[in-house]
Symmetry: D2
Subunit: 390 residues, 4 copies
């Protein structure tokens, strides 16, 4: 029962971090900060924490940023930080979606690595621009498809890629929530307001907010590439401007078939991302709300429950595990795994080492694919739920 | 903790029963017999238990049928039983699917009520013929969509129809199994052989065997009518002649959307029929393998677990409940509920009473709709998974 | 997915059955009747169904007993049935506890086999008398510790006895209910009235009604013999005359230790009998409310879920299984297994065959031990929860 | 879905922290450090991280301690830190148990607050000495009964204390593990070695390591005071020097009864602390391995699942919640809640404010009671499992 993996990774150089967005009242910004702190791999040194200058300043003070490192404007931040001796090495972008593109572009142009929330941008055109920029400048670009950071998700991927399920046939992934069952966006709730607003969220509502997570998880675990989809997007709440329920048939290259359901109007579901994968030799099931368990069902044998750190848990999971089995880790720990892996990669570059060959965190390529998925789903649905090739 | 409903229904006249199919080695025939016995409402008096005369006779002896009431041929049975003073009042048809039509027709023409396994017949044309015949002769025709007999399914229907979930938006139903993950039909296994043979099963494999159960359950609980579907049927096992995996998008009249997944190749799933229904005010979830629990999730309130016979369980469930909460009832009890309801209806007619106005057991109309569903799914899939109107 | 075991045991000679108790409004009598019917192994021919003659007659009619086979008095029944040509071979005793002794005695003296509900009698003195009588007359005497009839309980026993758990160290068994949380006996509820009345229930309340089930299950599965116990019995509801909560430390011969908790005042528990057994090589867990699952936890391997009839399920479970895995069987099926095994034994004797050497159903010896357990628990508690040797 | 409670508590003054124990290879030290970091309330400035000087230094470097703040000896650390201008305000003691007393004493005498792992010390005599010292010096003394930091445990306490369960009758608490099923202490595993060694662990093995957690949780949630206990401690692994299985009957003041089971030899259990509380009006159930759920069972109503941050979750839980429902928090977050509450109290004192009147973190008084519990359990067991008054 000694501590493994990430728990002993408190060492390793610390990385200088900045943040855009995430001021007082934001949800995901606080999550990113905790994630950066958990393994003690970052120092948060600068921020443009809010588009409202007063809020930005108050937030910066609360977080203990030094005077002069709180910026009212992300452009100014990018410009100045690149010139500081201890300027930030990486920026976290935790704004509403529509700002991801200009902010990421500004920091990439300033030679600063990027950690960007999902979905990466509004269009494949923008996505490819960032992809190109990151490549040209040789910068790291992580997209926080954070569910890929869970140890049991890593193990699932390892088992599928390793052939333990045989040839994959069926992928069932779902991500139901219920928080938009009623018209919350009219109540002034900030999260609901921007997430149902096409100008800030993009063309996808539910499909962009959570459908894209489900899609990423499915491809991350199976390694399959999507070939075509047939999407039926609905707006169940009267007057809502973006889809709040998503039902998609999936066809993968090689012949596997899948279904993806995402919903924001499914009462009794909080954040119930769940995936099941079935192959010719066995199946797997994992649920985000109970993330320490992976159910493995080899054909014609009794089902087994593999627990994080427990019997049957593998090295690939152990590397992102801090505490022994039976001591549950959760969402923040999974998120922190991505952050610590980015820190590993930055430190490796700093030390002239080549970054780890098999980077596990989602990159700009995952971001591009996620945007393409949203576009395809919207296009399919707009055509009356017809099949669309990727 | 006194016993309720079916448990005290041992009285009531007994009904004279015959059976076609269900000889030694059959699965579903034995289930029908246990179902008929559970509440002591039937006497099994006659049978054409196998197409193999020796097997028919041996089976009849084992079951204690009188000499002369075991028939080698269902036509002879229908002809003779109608003339006997204590001839059977109702026949159970538990043959492979392709015989349902001629057998049902023969007994209806003989003026004998019918209990028929699902799917009812191979085509809508046949289905309508039986429907017409039953109507003309004023005979009862039950189709054993047996999952509608579970008490908690009855309660779910009652809650949905009663408006407790508000306007229904989303229906997610699934029925995965794993028994055909490998090519069992080549092993000589009798069940696998006929269920994968188009001549005996009909045009639908998985969709006809279990997809139709899932479809019936969804419409039984929600009372919704299917408007259109888009079905992607697959044959994952090489050389298999019928679909073994079924993924369908559903559009219901009135705007509700759904997904239906059925599979015979999903390792780790035995008989995992499960349904979730979500409306504007709440949700429900029920799983066949744990049938005594119904999960009810009113929006913005803690989820509740309703147990058969327990707190929150209603009269409609109590009527088909035999034993107190915490004493699990299962598949056979649910099946028996349909049988006992058919017996109630037969006795009511015998006594000149009008049969209960709100018959709960599935009838020839349900059988017709089930056949139409299979046809539509096959047609949709054959066209490349295009939308098909019902 | 062919049907196994009990499902094909409809054949085999039928046995002539009588019943004492179990008239209209009773709970357990109806359960016994369904159990006797399920596999078609009994014909119910005679009864003294109630101490109230009118009720007895009405009940007999409802059940279709022939005129002249409904008795107002169990003594008359025993006397007459022994002389009839088709007199009953076995009687089911389903009265309140205080009548078990005189009724059983009367039928044993009449040379009729006995199936008796638990606890068998009020005192070890009475218990030994019946034991002796059964032995002398060479009669079968079954006690319906019905939970031992569940297939997965049989499998658990097989695994423990077979050494798969290694040397047994710890046994945790519990049986909480909540139906007596309030003073239900004052409401006129019949079950509550007699079960809280020392004159009819015996010296044990909760310990006699359900504690004895838990004790039997623990010894049935482990094969261990109880050496000593330390019992703390409570009466939480003011004015109640018998214990409604039972907490016992157990010491088994050979060194294993256990805890037994039974309660009638634990809100949220319906009939939550559960057992966990741990040995030097592995553990087992089984819960009555979800009886088709057995959890097996070999040390240092992932936990496995074994399902009735599924992978890992054994022949010993298959022999008492009717339908395929995923088709849940429940309380009535488990109860029926005991009935059918008694029928097997009676038919074997009738045919001059020795009854099956390894009878699985609980016998008069189990009944004796159950009574001794209740006596010891009451004695221990009366002395201030001191250790008492068995 | 805005972030609540602890998530926004990144502000607030940071507290200067030292640590004794917790060098490379230790488990609980790393946990304490993560817990201190999560809400950004501490700066780790000094340490005597190992009794091995080289290891101490290497550990200090890895953690980024300044030169001169890594001590080879805890006494030197206490002496010097008290004099430094930015000397530590609080020390975390994460050594094996036998060092808790001298280390805590040294730091208290130096006027430094203490956070000490459990069990606090080896004897009530030592415990009272520390209690007196803390009181005299007016110092904070927290004992990391960390399970009391979980939001749903806080809510459980709030519901019980608030009377929603009525009068408490029954408390069932258990804490099974399996890591000592075999003789791990012979393998050189460090944790196993000291935890089974009376000189380092104290007179209680399993009872001291985890039984004391279970005891604390039971009293924390119910507010009940233990009156007497009857303990049966076992050593199942041959040659083991301390108990590895603990079974205890509990009597609380006011009449409630309980059972406590703790085990290190129960295969299939990782860290399965679980508590159930039953009163005259309802019940509660909580399991540490699935800590985001609290099951509430009001009598005669359907059971409800309350989720952290979800419907039915209260302000008292919200105060120690960082992220929305459905985003699981775990062991580290619960642990961090205690750390952040200690930081709150230190900052309050620093600012001349009285520390929060209702401190929720466990204090030296809880530590004293925990030691007394272990002593009583060992004494009871040594006398043959006789009742012992507290």
């Amino acid at each position: 029962m000694t501590i493994q993996g990430r728990g002993s990774a408190e060492h390793g150089g610390r990385v200088r971090l900045g943040m855009v967005g995430g001021g007082q009242g934001a949800f995901i910004g606080a999550v990113h900060r905790i994630a950066s702190r958990l393994d003690d791999r970052y120092r948060l040194l600068a921020g443009a924490l809010s588009s409202d200058p007063e809020r930005a300043l108050a937030s910066a003070r609360e977080l203990g940023l030094a005077e002069g490192r709180s910026y009212a404007d992300y452009r100014a931040m990018a410009r100045r930080e690149r010139r500081l001796k201890d300027g930030i090495e990486v920026v976290s972008i935790v704004t509403p979606n529509h700002l991801h593109f200009p902010v990421a572009k500004a920091f990439l142009q300033a030679g600063i690595h990027v950690i960007c929330d999902k979905p990466m941008v509004h269009s494949s055109r923008e996505a490819r621009q960032l992809q190109k920029l990151a490549k040209t400048r040789d910068l790291l670009f992580a997209v926080t498809y954070n569910y890929s950071g869970y140890p049991m998700v890593r193990q699932a991927r390892d088992m599928v890629i390793g052939g333990e399920l045989g040839e994959i046939r069926v992928v069932q992934v779902e991500y139901p929530q219920d928080w938009l069952t009623e018209k919350l966006e009219e109540s002034g709730q900030k999260q609901a307001a921007w997430r149902t607003d096409p100008a800030r969220s993009g063309a996808g509502g539910c499909v962009g907010d959570i459908g894209t997570h489900a899609y990423h998880l499915a491809t991350f675990i199976t390694g399959l590439e999507l070939e075509a989809l047939c999407a039926d997007l609905s707006r169940f709440v009267s007057g809502r401007r973006l889809d709040d329920n998503v039902q998609i048939l999936l066809r993968f290259k090689g012949g596997a078939r899948g279904m993806l359901w995402a919903s924001q109007v499914a009462p009794g579901n909080e954040n119930a991302l769940r995936i099941r994968v079935f192959g010719s030799k066995g199946g797997l099931s994992w649920s985000q709300e109970d993330p320490n368990y992976l159910y493995y069902t080899p054909f014609a044998e009794p089902p087994r429950r593999i627990t994080r750190g427990g019997s049957g848990s593998r090295a690939i999971a152990g590397r992102v595990t801090r505490i022994p089995p039976g001591h549950p880790e959760g969402y923040l720990e999974g998120f922190a795994n991505l952050y610590s892996e980015v820190a590993d990669a930055i430190v490796a570059r700093r030390e002239g080492r080549c970054p780890d060959a098999d980077v596990m965190f989602p990159t700009v390529e995952d971001g591009c694919r996620g945007v393409a998925f949203i576009e395809a789903a919207v296009r399919s649905s707009d055509r009356g739920a017809r099949w669309v090739k990727m």
